[in-house]
Amino acid sequence: MAVVASETPFHVLAVDDSLPDRKLIERLLKTSSFQVTTVDSGSKALQFLGIHDDDASTVSVHAHQLDVAVNLIITDYCMPGMTGYDLLKKIKESSSLRDIPVVIMSSENIPSRINRCLEEGADEFFLKPVQLSDMSKLKPHILKSRCREHYEQEQQHQQSDSNSNDCSSPTNMSSSSDSSRKRKAEDNEEILPQKNRPRHS
């Protein structure tokens, strides 16, 4: 798997209340050259991301306040308290976090659930158990998000008559993006993973 020419690996925040599943996703991510942080709940994820649960929609935390940039969030759907969907919504409501790609995982293949997540802005939906081959779907979302960021920064610079940035130079997640919040489902190439997997119930 090709690694993008940047000095630090991409950092993924993985959220799952199940300890064996957390161990698995961590290993899958590390094997795929990601730096990984795991948390066991949506509220801990928000804490790590630097926003407070109760005022996520009004408080905008500048990304530089994050100790480590997070390039992608992968979360289980079914969690007690805050579900993966609730977490997704909070992330998309936050001006500083909304551009971080979010992937939802679930052991249940429920089309209405999947569509709801995609409509709310999830970039990808993985059916559990997540496979090593699923990991190769993550980088494109990170890179797409970065390119969009750089493009917008370039636009802003052009407007102020300065030189445009080199798209390949890595930067931290910026809070100055004006990109639209909701990603359309059509933007996603694969909505349901193709697997020869027996379907239950």
Partner: protein
């Protein structure tokens, strides 16, 4: 000589686990992730699975006692357990979970009780068989759990 006997024994144990449907391909995926950096990964994940599944089954058992005919609660708990089983490749357990959920959907409390007893039995058998397997693996030594070539 003894060394390769243990290897054969491990391979044979594993084969029977697959042939008898206790494990499915997902278990292979987990073993594939094991390497020199993470030499006991499979056993660690399996151990976490049994801790997790034991706890979930206790929850289900308590729900069946304290919340009689609360089928939707039973189903939600069983859904969690099923997800856990599928993560590890515990195929027979997973199938029993599905069966339970179907019976739950029919609101058949006695059927659920029976299914749950089956599940407990499967859980116990799987645990025993995997413990034997890992024991033999440990005795057989590092060559048996050597990293597979990472093909991309």
């Amino acid at each position: 000589m003894e060394y390769s006997n243990l290897q054969r024994q491990a391979a044979s144990l594993k084969k029977s686990l697959f042939d008898q449907g206790y494990l499915d391909e997902q278990f292979c995926q987990i073993e594939y992730l094991q390497d020199e950096a993470s030499p006991n990964f499979t056993e660690e994940v399996v151990s976490l699975f049994f801790e997790n599944s034991t706890r979930l089954m206790t929850n289900i058992e308590q729900a069946m006692e304290k919340n009689p005919r609360d089928f939707s609660r039973w189903d939600v708990n069983m859904q969690q357990l099923k997800g856990s089983c599928s993560s590890i490749g515990a195929s027979r357990m997973k199938n029993e979970c599905t069966s339970f959920r179907n019976i739950c959907g029919d609101e058949n409390a006695e059927g659920c009780m029976r299914s749950f007893q089956n599940l407990k039995r499967e859980h116990g058998v799987l645990r025993q068989k995997l413990e034997s397997y890992f024991q033999v693996l440990r005795q057989a030594g590092p060559a048996v759990t050597a990293a597979r070539p990472r093909g991309m």
